[in-house]
């Protein structure tokens, strides 16, 4: 599904990613772990197409297409979704309205007819329960005045509604209490199928305890220095990152 080959990328002339190789197949959940500044979020931004990152070398293909040549929204429409670490607020724009606009953009892209307001509300009311958010959040402005935990739940709500093929969870666990963490992990787990893939980016193995990743990769200074299964996360928890550094 997603094949990343020898990706080098820089921001403001500074090289952040120094040759990343990663391949994600349908149904897999990969976790990328690393310290602050190791390049985790940069990787997520490169995949989603954020403008201020420059890819200097390497390639990324997504379902056989050259991802790096696609616009941000084309990547999204092709099925790539990112749960943001810091979701922005959009004052005055109704949360449900925003989500319906996104869903309709996707349906239109797939050549399907748009969903009308009442069908959408029926759909979204079901989804809201899954992330344990009150329905009143639907009529509030997008992320406006939401707490950190509410924002993260709202991101997952969007994921459940848009049903992407590849979901990037950027530090989705940060700033969450244990209950919220469980709710979100459960939401993701129930959403997992043989065709849906995930790339979870995190500092801690906390989230991974609930999410059962197939692979764990450790990112240090722009390179994946070690890959393994869940036991690697446990080792990191015990020993930290320093034993992996040169």
């Amino acid at each position: 599904m997603l094949i990343i080959k020898n990706i080098h990328a820089s921001v403001d002339g500074k090289e952040i990613l120094k040759g990343i190789n990663l391949s994600i197949k349908p149904g897999e959940l990969h976790a990328i772990m690393g310290r602050n500044g190791s390049g985790k979020s940069t990787l997520a931004n490169i995949i989603t197409g954020r403008d201020n990152f420059l890819v200097t070398k390497g390639s990324i293909t997504y379902n056989g297409n050259n991802l790096l040549e696609m616009s941000i929204e084309d990547r999204a429409l092709a099925g790539i979704f990112m749960s943001f670490q810091y979701p922005v607020s959009i004052p005055g724009v109704n949360n449900a309205y925003f989500l319906r606009a996104a869903l309709n953009a996707k349906l239109k892209h797939q050549g399907k007819s748009e969903i009308n307001a009442s069908d959408f509300m029926r759909l979204i009311r079901e989804k809201v329960k899954l992330v344990n958010l009150d329905e009143s959040y639907l009529s509030r402005a997008v992320n406006d005045g939401f707490s950190g935990g509410e924002k993260k739940r709202n991101e997952i709500l969007q994921m459940l509604t848009l049903e992407p093929e590849l979901s990037i969870l950027d530090e989705t666990d940060s700033g969450l209490d244990i209950d919220a963490l469980k709710t979100i992990a459960e939401g993701v787990n129930n959403f997992r199928t043989e065709t849906r893939s995930f790339l979870a980016i995190t500092h801690y193995q906390r989230l991974l305890e609930y999410m059962h990743p197939d692979y764990i990769h450790v990112l240090i200074d722009g390179k994946i220095v070690k890959s393994g299964d869940i036991s690697l996360a446990n080792q990191l928890e015990e020993k930290g990152y320093s034993w992996l550094e040169k």
């Binding site: 941000i72 929204e73 999204a76 429409l77 959009i90 606009a101 953009a105």
Partner: protein
């Protein structure tokens, strides 16, 4: 939504497109200003230039009584002594007032008995603009007065309104048929000496709309005037007067468009509102005059307008809502004089300056009565090289005990080459006053756009989503169906604002 079809017919095309959401933007790409056509029609136009004779000609064409001619001439003499105001942030070349023709009218038979006698070319023009004037086609509850260049072409639903005692007609007709009311109120809110452009208007105004709502009548339908400038090198100087008697209620809408022309055209209107005890006037504007060439800035309407209402009686209320997306220049400060105790003044505004447009707009709230209350919500949007200025004054006079004002002025910037400016003036002379002022300026963030894009929403849709969210408080004040049209207008006016 038949209402909007007639009311905001200026936006009719977007409605058709609404069925197919995607084509809104598509159609916007292929057209820059869709009301830019001209109507080829026999015209009666007096040569450019302004002097006492011109004013006499206008007055005699209108068969006006002596007192009105005197009133005009007095205003003209005052105007000659006045200087064009230069305190605004607007930059423009001097206006040559002698190069403008002050009267243009489609030639027609002396008196029109029915719509059948209106020139078909004119009816076609309004149909093109989405304003069918044939009453049988008006399914909706909206009466329309159509002003073409200097004269009112027709007013619909007159009979229906007459049943309720509501007078809605062209200003010229009102001068003939209701001279007492005109004489009583003309200039009572905006005196001829008020300002340069109001004085000019008083001297040369050609037509406009007149509304009279009798005591305790709730006007059974929305009233609407549609202004169209057609003739070249002609100014438009209309005058609107609305009088709401005790306990009455009226909602009035105006819309405006003009052809695309390379030269700037002057529009200098005056609007006067009078609300008696317990009366309420709601005045909404969607202004979409030709903004000039988006690439060169050439042409476009110079819009210098004086709008003011007096809350004369206790518990009266005047509410201004404006969506200003057109004109090369906008100079406009719809204001309220809160004379009656407990009276309320409101101003809700969205002003957009894209490309080379400049807007200097805001309001004045003058509190005279006790327990008077005013609310100001202003949303300025700047894009391209547009410059947007909010200029507002709140005055609490000595006897206005317990007056309250809330002002909120927000600006949003799209791109690097535009500007937003805010000038709030506050003058409080009574210690019991409560004033609140909030202001913000923000840029449409890369972050917001990225977030929308990442959800599969295109940049164009994202910009209009964000801007509409920004304007929501104001759009909420528009009559419902009008609000939908305003949103669409905003989308098209922002076309290309983000590269």
């Amino acid at each position: 939504m038949p209402n909007a079809l007639a009311v905001a017919g200026l936006l009719f095309q977007y409605r058709a497109n609404m069925k197919n959401n995607q084509s809104i933007i598509d159609s916007a790409i292929s057209q820059e200003y869709e009301y830019g056509f001209t109507t080829d029609i026999d015209q009666e136009k007096i040569p450019p230039g302004l002097n006492e004779d011109v004013i006499k000609i206008i007055s005699s064409k209108k068969q006006e009584p002596e007192w009105l001619l005197d009133w005009r001439l007095k205003a003209y003499k005052q105007w000659l002594k006045m200087d064009e105001p230069d305190w605004s942030k607007l930059n423009y070349d001097d206006i040559d007032f002698q190069a403008i023709s002050y009267y243009a009218a489609p030639k027609q038979k002396e008196k029109l008995k029915s719509l059948d006698e209106v020139d078909p070319e004119l009816l076609e023009t309004y149909n093109k603009l989405g304003i069918p004037l044939e009453e049988q086609k008006l399914l909706s509850n909206v009466a329309v007065d159509a002003v073409f260049d200097s004269v009112s072409v027709t007013t619909t639903f007159k009979e229906e309104l007459e049943k309720h005692g509501v007078i809605f007609c062209s200003f010229s007709e009102a001068v003939q048929k209701h001279p007492d009311i005109i004489k009583k109120y003309l200039g009572s809110v905006v005196p001829t000496t008020d300002n340069y452009f109001a004085a000019l208007n008083s001297a040369v105004f050609s037509d406009g709309s007149f509304v009279y709502i009798p005591k305790n009548v709730r006007c059974p339908m929305e009233l609407s005037t549609y202004f169209r400038i057609n003739a070249a090198k002609t100014g438009q100087f209309e005058r609107t007067l609305i009088v709401a008697e005790e306990g009455s209620h009226v909602s009035y809408l105006e819309g405006c468009t003009a052809p695309m022309r390379d030269e700037n055209q002057l529009h200098a209107a005056v609007v006067e509102l009078v609300a008696h005890k317990n009366a309420e006037i709601k005045y909404s504007t969607v202004q979409n005059w030709y903004p000039g060439n988006p690439k060169t800035g050439k042409g476009g309407i110079y819009n210098f307008v004086t709008k003011r209402g007096t809350c004369l009686g206790d518990n009266s209320k005047i509410s201004w809502t404006q969506v200003e997306t057109g004109s090369a220049l906008t100079w406009k400060y719809p204001s309220c004089i809160l004379k009656g105790n407990n009276s309320i003044g409101e101003f809700y505004s969205v002003a957009l300056s894209n490309n080379f447009q400049q807007a200097d707009t805001g309001t004045k709230m003058i509190h005279l009565g006790k327990n008077t209350k005013s609310t100001i919500i202003s949303k300025g949007i700047s894009a391209g090289k547009g410059q947007n200025t909010y200029r507002g004054g709140v005055k609490i006079m000595k006897n206005a005990d317990n007056a309250r004002n809330f002002s909120q002025c927000d600006s949003i910037l799209i791109g690097e080459n535009c500007g937003a400016h805010t000038f709030p003036y506050i003058d409080v002379r009574n210690p019991s006053a409560q004033m609140e002022h909030e202001a913000s300026t923000s840029k449409i963030g890369e972050d917001q756009l990225f977030y929308c894009n990442q959800r599969g929403i295109s940049t164009e849709d994202a910009v209009s989503l964000i801007v509409n969210g920004f304007c929501k408080d104001v759009f909420n004040e528009l009559p419902m169906e009008f609000a939908v049209e305003a949103q669409k207008l905003m989308e098209v006016s922002l076309e290309g604002a983000v590269g």
